[in-house]
């Protein structure tokens, strides 16, 4: 026989929930606000803000200069794209070590098609995306259906696709790329509506500013509607001041970034691409049946299967998806360098994995958010950028990034242990 109670409900398990008997009674009249629940998730946003503030001081404001903000986004876009796919894989309880090599090989395929064979760029990009999907299907087959641990499959893939990169390229760089592809990686939206003066800040692109304002408005409206719907179903919501504060903070962040970008070169196209991906994948993970199945498979595989989730198919499609995202990153990276090189994408997998874990993914799977992975990626990006601005040598940058990764996961495990996970105790 066993104890009647889950041992997880340990010493302080019930403390922040109030007395249990009260909870057992009928629901109270007014919804009770819940704030403390997402400390782990909101912690990384606070961490990002602190790191940005720290480097702004250390670099005497150079960090937040318009050109620098633009640089951070453009220089890290491909890692962030990979991080989106990686967090999904990690939530499902797997890992992908091969994405760096896939970036290399897909960039090489695009280059060979466009440069050596003069294939029109839209067709070449399409073929590249399909190639990425096929690569993902290959790894997904071995992982999901054959049952080899993804660590091994993708470790093999890391070698295989690097070898393929070298073969496709014939061991040399291939370029230059058509202007359209380079624009996607390096270019900016046009000055469709001209400039406006922003007083002491100087001139700024009106179109970019309007996009920023529209984004803030859309954010506020959707949040407001969700809140109303929740109240309609008598669920608990944040108290009004907290709600306004959160929307205000998000809007402020969006506007600071867009104003700075508008003062420099308008919006980078790759930022537009990234924003679309983040939005799309956030909806996929949070609102769709497929997204829910990803969390279910990662949280408890057997329970998911016994609830009718086709776990193998879920994992397979996640790898296909990762392949496609890696090929997008491959195109962006090659376009940015204007050349597909044999070493393109080296060690990108490590940055993408680090971004996912700093952003709140759990090592055992089942936990994580797309926005979290992006935030994790930005934390790494800001550290990289800030440290190079103050002239730190690269070994010290590496040292700090390593420690940050370790600290982030240590914090995760520490918070879990505090909430009474029995095995880690």
């Amino acid at each position: 026989m066993s104890s009647p109670i889950a041992p997880a409900a340990g010493r302080d398990g019930g403390r922040d929930r109030g007395p249990a008997p009260a909870a057992a009674g009928p629901r109270g009249g007014t919804p009770r606000p819940r704030l403390s629940i997402n400390l782990r998730q909101s912690g990384i946003y606070v961490a990002l803000a602190l790191i940005v503030a720290l480097f702004s001081v250390l670099t005497e404001g150079a960090m937040l200069q318009p050109q620098n903000i633009s640089n951070i986004i453009v220089q890290n876009s491909y890692i962030l794209i990979l991080a989106i796919g990686m967090i999904l894989i990690i939530i499902s309880g797997h890992i992908d070590l091969s994405v760096g090599s896939v970036v290399g090989v897909t960039g090489a395929i695009a280059a060979v098609l466009m440069v050596n064979h003069n294939v029109p760029w839209p067709l070449a990009l399409l073929v590249t995306l399909v190639a990425g999907a096929l690569i993902g299907a290959w790894q997904g087959y071995w992982t999901a259906y054959f049952g080899i641990p993804s660590f091994i499959v993708t470790l093999a893939g890391m070698l295989l696709f690097r070898a393929l990169t070298l073969t496709v390229l014939g061991n040399q760089g291939i370029g230059p790329f058509p202007d359209e592809v380079r624009t996607l990686s390096n270019g900016f939206t046009g000055s469709y509506l001209g400039n406006v003066g922003l007083g002491p800040l100087g001139g700024a692109d009106l179109f970019s500013l309007l996009v920023g304002v529209a984004l803030c408005a859309a954010l506020a409206v959707t949040q407001w509607r969700t809140r109303k719907a929740r109240l309609g179903y008598s669920q608990t919501v944040d108290p009004m001041p907290v709600f306004l504060l959160r929307i205000g903070a998000a809007a402020l962040l969006i506007m600071v970034v867009t104003v700075q970008l508008a003062r420099f070169h308008n919006l980078p196209w790759v930022l537009v691409l990234l924003a679309a991906l983040v939005l799309g994948y956030s909806l996929l993970t949070g609102r769709t049946v497929f997204g829910r199945h990803v969390y279910a498979v990662g949280g408890n595989l057997q329970a998911a299967v016994l609830s009718g989730v086709k776990a193998k198919s879920v994992v397979f499609w996640l790898f296909v998806n990762m392949g496609v995202l890696a090929s997008i990153a491959g195109i962006v990276f090659a376009g940015r360098l204007n050349q597909a090189g044999p070493t393109a994408g080296n060690s990108f997998e490590l940055d993408a994995i680090a971004a996912a874990f700093i952003g709140g993914a759990a090592v055992q799977g089942g936990v994580g958010k797309v926005v979290g992975a992006i935030t994790g990626g930005l934390i790494m990006a800001v550290i990289n950028n800030g440290m190079s601005l103050i002239g730190a040598p690269s070994e010290r940058v590496m040292l700090v990034k390593g420690l940050v990764l370790l600290a982030a996961v240590a914090f995760d495990i520490w918070t879990k242990r505090r909430s009474g996970s029995p095995i880690l105790r």
């Binding site: 109670i5 340990g10 819940r34 669920q235 329970a303 009718g308």
Partner: protein, 512 residues
């Protein structure tokens, strides 16, 4: 003045919402075999976990004295250092290591920092002789049967110079012969001066070996009996354990039985690890609307295997047989087919197979019916929340709201979440595998009420249970299984524990 090796005084241990132990006193005399009896959830295992330091000092109230010294264990290592060794129901051996390696795990025989294999195997052989296990010490544990593994566990305790041996349901998985050997061994150890505490449901065994019997009920020590003084019978123990009539433990139930819903014919399942072994052998049974049908059987009889293989082939290989739903033959190739045909299976192991413990109540409730809550692949989160909230209120799931993580709920509330998950798939047939295992008494009654309500709504229930009183109290009809075969079908009016047990222990030849 009696010589007590162990006294536990005023032990109180509570978990959020539940008092697992209330002011429990336990005195164990030196050199005796002391049995602790009680229903599932009475607090026996919790008491032993307090004693062995699994729940460290400070997490409970009360005092433990061992050999006259007050003990404040901060972990199992502390209690083992004093010679208190607990052998859990789930054996804790490393299957891929040899017997000798297991015996001295964490306690290795060393010479100059290296393992002294000669001494290890020599001492292991002596220990095996003491427990009467004629095996080579280098045999890999995975190659032993459960009974022999149990003996290895005891030998391992002896290797630690055990003074107080605690056995939690040691014979639950053993056959009669192995059980008898184990009980002999316990008597032998008593003669060597080892004190034992045995937790067991098998009252005949308790009476056969115990010098003292303590009875726990609902977290409280009810009484301590002395069989040596005579007049202690199984019935006497049962009345102490139960403390009330059988009738009052089960809600009143008036069956309204309708048409046949599900018929299983000639169902045969082979073991996925030994392909030539039949785990279920030609089983046939029928379920009718509004009927609660029991499935009784000892461990290894094939009950869970039968249920899981019917529920979308989630167990076994080379499954054959026919399924009829409402009289029409159906094919159930996977879990989705099963759900589509109105089958639901609530697992016996809710933590491993039933719940996603890191997710909240809401997401667990919707897990098997997400498509019903979605349109074109988009989940209606608000509707989902409302549905979960409705079940929380209806089933009295004790949690502040449906965003509470299921891993933090008590066993009874977790089980209610599992039931809610399956009820929301709107099944016609609900297979409930040990639905009250490890659940405290109050929650059990609530679960019974839910099950009966489902039957009243016209669903067919197949209740798999190892507790015969539960089957007798709940079911309209009971099938018995032994060695993969259906060995009997007993109507409610005719059923007694003795009759069921006789069918459950039928030999293969007699079964047909």
């Amino acid at each position: 003045m009696t010589d007590h090796i162990l006294t536990m005084t005023g032990i109180t241990k509570s978990f959020p919402g539940v008092h697992a132990l209330r002011d429990v006193n336990l005195k164990v005399r030196r050199g005796e075999i002391h049995a602790i009896c009680g229903e599932n959830g009475a607090g026996k295992s919790t008491l032993m976990k307090v004693l062995s330091g699994v729940y460290p000092h400070g997490s409970y109230d009360g005092e433990i004295r061992f050999d006259g010294e007050e003990c404040r264990f901060s972990g199992v290592r502390d209690s083992e250092a004093l010679g208190i060794v607990i052998i859990h129901q789930e054996l804790a051996l490393c299957p891929q290591l040899s017997i000798a390696e297991n015996l001295f795990l964490g306690n290795e025989r060393r010479r100059r920092g290296l393992i002294d294999w000669n001494r290890t195997n020599h001492e292991a052989a002596r220990l095996l002789e003491r427990v009467g296990l004629p095996e080579n010490p280098t045999t890999v544990v995975a190659d032993l049967g459960v009974g022999k593994q149990q003996l290895v566990e005891i030998a391992k305790a002896l290797a630690k110079r055990v003074r107080l041996l605690i056995l939690d349901e040691p014979t639950a998985a053993l056959n009669d012969e192995d059980s008898a050997h184990l009980l002999d061994l316990m008597r032998g150890l008593r003669d060597e001066g080892v004190t034992s505490v045995i937790i067991s449901h098998k009252l005949n065994e308790v009476l056969a070996v115990a010098d003292t019997v303590s009875i726990l009920r609902d977290g409280q020590m009810i009484e301590t009996l002395d069989p040596a003084a005579g007049a202690v019978t199984e019935d006497r123990i049962i009345s102490g354990m139960v403390g009330r009539d059988l009738e009052h433990r089960y809600p009143p139930h008036e069956p309204q039985i309708g048409e046949e819903v599900l018929r299983i014919e000639d169902w045969t399942v082979h073991s996925p690890v030994q392909h030539d072994r039949k785990v279920v052998d030609g089983a046939s049974l029928t379920l009718r609307r509004g009927e609660i049908v029991g499935l009784a059987g000892l461990m290894g009889a094939g009950r869970t295997e039968l249920a899981m293989s019917v529920f979308g082939r989630t167990y076994g290989t080379d499954v054959s047989g026919r399924l009829f739903k409402d009289g029409r033959p159906i094919e159930v190739r996977d879990v989705r087919d099963a759900i589509r045909h109105g089958l639901a299976y609530a697992t016996e192991d809710r933590k491993r197979y039933g719940l996603n413990l890191i997710q909240d109540i809401r997401q667990n409730v919707s897990a098997a019916s997400l498509r019903r809550l979605a349109r074109r692949g988009w989940v209606n989160g608000h509707e989902e929340h409302a549905v979960a909230e409705r079940y929380r209120a209806e089933m009295n799931i004790k949690a502040p709201d449906v965003l509470a993580v299921t891993g933090k709920l008590s066993g009874g509330n977790q089980q209610k979440v599992v039931l809610a998950k399956w009820i929301h798939t709107d099944p016609d047939v609900l297979i409930l595998d040990e639905p009250t295992r490890g659940i405290d008494v109050g929650a059990k009654y609530e679960i019974y009420t839910i099950v009966q309500r489902l039957a009243r709504e016209g669903k067919a229930i197949l209740l798999i249970s190892s507790e015969l009183p539960e089957l007798l109290g709940m079911c309209d009809r009971i099938y018995t299984m032994a060695a993969g075969r259906i060995t009997g079908e007993v109507a409610r009016a005719d059923a007694t524990q003795e009759l069921l047990m006789r069918h459950m222990t039928l030999e293969k030849e007699a079964a047909r």
